[in-house]
Structures are given as C-alpha cells and as structure tokens.
Amino acid sequence: MAILPRLGRRPEAPPAESPDIPGVLKRGGNGEGPSGFDKEALKKGAAEVPISVAGWLEERLGQTPALKHTLFRRVPGHDWTYTLGFAVLIAFMSQAVTGVFLAMYYDPSPTQAYASAAFITNELFLGEFVRGMHRWGSTVMIVLIFLHMAQTFFYGAYKYPREMNWLIGVILVTLTLAMGLTGYLLPFDQRSFWATIVAVNLNGTGPIIGPYLGDFLRGGADFNAITISRFYAIHMLLIPGLMIALIGAHLYLVTKLGTTAPPWVKARKRRELAKEEI
C-alpha cells in the first residue's frame, strides 16, 4: 500500500470535470485546445505508469514486498560503469534468442550439420543475419564480461559481504568460455573442426580428469559420429541451464546485498557519528 499513493483513483474512468485529472489526460476543457498538453504533467504521468502497474498487480496479487524492494530500493552510485553487469545479461539474452532461432534449422548430425549451417547462412531469410548476431554476440559478451570483472576487481566489490557473488561470477565466466568452445564446432567447417580437435586434445592432456574429460566431450576415444550432437547438447542444454540458474543466484544476491558504492564515495555522516560515539 505504501508504494501506491494513487491506488484509490481509477484512471480508466475519470470524472470529466475533476480538477485532479493528471495533465496527460486533460483534453480541451481548460481552454487550451486538444494540442495543449502540459509537458511537465506528461513527464510526471509517464514516470507514474510503472507505479500504477505495480499497484494494479499489488491490488490483485496481494502485498508483494519483493517487487517493492527490487524496484524502489536505493542504489548507491549509478554511473555508467554500473550498467556493465546488465549489459552482459542483455548479451546473454540476445544469444539465447538468436540461439533458439538457429536451433529451429540446425541439424546436429555429422552428415547434415554443415548442410544445415550452409542453408541457414545462404538460403534462409535473415539466416546469415541471425547467425552473425549469434557469432558476434559471443564476442560482445566476452568483452563485456571482462570489463564487468575488471570493474568488480578494481572497485574491491568482491570483498565482504559479496564474496559469494564473485565466486558465482567466476563460474559464469568459465561457463561462457565453455559456450564459446562448444559452439565453435557446430558450423562444422574446416576451421571449427580442426580447432575443436586441438582444443579437446589439449583438455585430454590434463592430469587425472583430463583423459576422461576428453572422452566425455568426444563421446569416445576419437572424434566420431556422436561428437557433434554431444557438443550441441552441451552447448544448448547443459551449459545454458547452469548459466540461467547461476545468473538467477547472481541477481538475487545483487538485489539482496546491493551494489557496492564507488570506493571513493564516503559517507558524510560518518565523521559526525564517530564523534558522537566517543
């Protein structure tokens, strides 16, 4: 209720002469004519739309403190570097959407993989565009992740109480690189095929789990007929599933703990309060 000062009103049926009508809805009546919108009121009205929506939902779903806390929580420091994490999320979503469209036409079998990739690239309407978005989206995502990570590092944002979020973030970076590796094989051209062979062989040289990891990725001791479908399943089911779960946990913790303030921002009250304590 607290977030909803305007809940009691019914904007869908305002009484025609009410002086309370928000400026946006004013039409004629005041002698201004239909085009005489009050700009300030328009702005204010637009800013209130999500509040009304939140209120509408709140009225019907009951109190939703979660919504209130996420939407109107106070955030310290919101310069542009703080949008990097969200930018990574957007890149991930773009990869998910373009990936779904590619999956509609891609066939992960050794005989059809290249042909379906060629069909997507050469014949399908907007096929090359969507494949290009997926291909370059990975590059954009990696760049953004490294920037996000660098900021977290230099701002000391991995420190108490946000250690767990750093940990989840590092796992997400590793998974993103694994996405790059498994996706690289799928077009099944010369370049991707041989690069993947080398990469999997490198994995196979690792101690203890190395050979098993290599065998798991290839689905056998050598590159064979099921390797592509294995990479495909890992690329579009296993790793994205893990990533979505971990992104959820990452965002939950961000909301719960709050983003760090820039390290050079100090509380004004701090000194005064310290004096009082003494």
């Binding site: 800013a47 955030v75 290009g132 000391g156 790059g180 690289y184 490198l202």
Partner: protein, 237 residues
C-alpha cells in the same frame, strides 16, 4: 576483515545509500535501458558489417587445415607457443590456466583487507594491471602470428604440393619455416636444403632422433606425398 570492520562497512554502506543513493527505478533502469539498446545495436551492427562466414566443409582426411581458435582463446593458445620445452607443455596447456582460475576463485578469500580504493591497494592494482597486460599481450601475439599449419615461404610451382603436405604434417609444431611455426624444440628448417642433402633429409624423416616422430607411416601410406615433402624440404636453400 574483522568483525568491527565488517560492521563499520555495513553501517557506512547504509549511510552512503541514504545520502547519495537513488531509487533503482527510474534512475538505474533508465541507464540500463540505454545500455541494453547500445549492446543490441552493436551486435546487430557487427552482424551486418562482418556477417557470418562459413568455410569449406570439415574434412577429417584433409591435408591442409588451419586450427585457429576464436580470438578470446588466443591468450591460451599463445601460452603454448611461448612455453617451448616439451616437458613444460603440460604447464602451459593445463597448469597455468588452472592455477589462474583457482587464484581467481579464491581472490575474495586471499584479499580480505577492508580497503576498497584501488589506489590504496597497491598489490591488487599491480596484479590486476599485470594480468590484463599479459592477457592483452598474448592475445595480440596470437592474432598477428601466422597460422600454425601454413607455410608462407615462396616456392617454385613444382614444390607447391610438397609445401602443403609439409604444412599439414605437423612439422610446424616444432620447426620454424620463415615466419611460420614454432622456433623450438627442433631447429629452424628455413634453409635446411643448404645444410643437408636430399637423402639425409629422407633418412632423418624415417629414423629421427627423439622426440621427433617418424614419418615412416606417411611413406608407406602415401609414398608420393612423402616424396613431395622431401623434395620441398631439399629445395629450401
């Protein structure tokens, strides 16, 4: 951080939020929204400008191929070329990346000081900049390096096929040909024809000194390709 420092941090964080903070909506949402448009715009632009190339179909029996990873793996790839001795190769392929990953995961548990300002954390600052610098350097090195299965030395037309056989036979992993290949552990072969006669080259290929592998199997399976390879090597003067 000890208990007092933790409490102090949380208290100060609360104050900063009250004093300088803004509500998530609409301030953060507005900036995030613009950033989202920029990100999607850049992806679309890159797709339009660079497209999605599709090379020739994968052919496991091919003799010419170029195993190049995606650019963001160049730094790992390049580590392999920087580390020369064969007994240390495992360090480059698995050792260093694993150690770096473990350090990265443990970072918040290694650096537990209360200080957050980058300029007041000299060790972290130097370590961070060094890591970024090293990765950037290795990535650039990997980007400008010639493809590891391609020999760019100019040769006469009759040696062209031998050159391709050589390029795909794995020689470049240990030998250098002009600008291509690794400069160790084997000797550079750019002028091998001037140093060894044709027969000696053939003998070495069939009965090499360890750790070089023998090319006996190539001679039995495809004697023509083997001869072309020897001809090509003998022509390098």
């Amino acid at each position: 951080m000890n208990k007092r420092e933790k409490e102090r941090y949380l208290r100060e964080y609360g104050m900063i939020k009250d004093e300088t903070g803004h509500p998530f909506f609409p301030y953060t949402v507005y900036k995030d929204g613009i950033m989202a448009c920029v990100v999607v715009g850049v992806i679309i632009l890159m797709s339009i400008l660079f497209g999605a190339e599709l090379g020739p179909k994968a052919d496991p029996t091919t003799t010419t191929y170029t195993p190049r990873p995606e650019w963001y793996f160049f730094f790992l790839f390049e580590l392999l070329r920087v580390v020369k001795p064969p007994e240390l190769v495992i360090l480059a392929t698995i050792g260093i990346p694993t150690i770096c990953l473990i350090l990265l995961i443990l970072l918040p548990f290694i650096d537990r000081s209360a200080e957050r300002h980058p300029l007041k954390r000299p060790v972290a600052l130097v370590a961070g900049i060094t890591t970024i610098g090293a990765m950037a350097y290795l990535t650039i090195l990997g980007a400008v390096a010639g493809a590891p299965t391609e020999i760019e030395l100019p040769v006469a037309a009759q040696y062209q096929e031998g050159k391709e056989v050589t390029a795909s036979a794995g020689c470049l992993a240990c030998h250098q040909f002009g600008e291509n290949g690794n400069s160790g552990p084997g000797p550079a072969l750019t002028n091998i024809g001037a140093k060894l006669p044709r027969q000696a080259i053939e003998r070495t290929l069939l009965n090499p000194t360890a750790p070089m592998p023998s090319y006996q199997s190539l001679q039995t399976q495809d004697p023509e390709a083997f001869d072309q390879m020897v001809d090509f090597l003998a022509s390098l003067k």
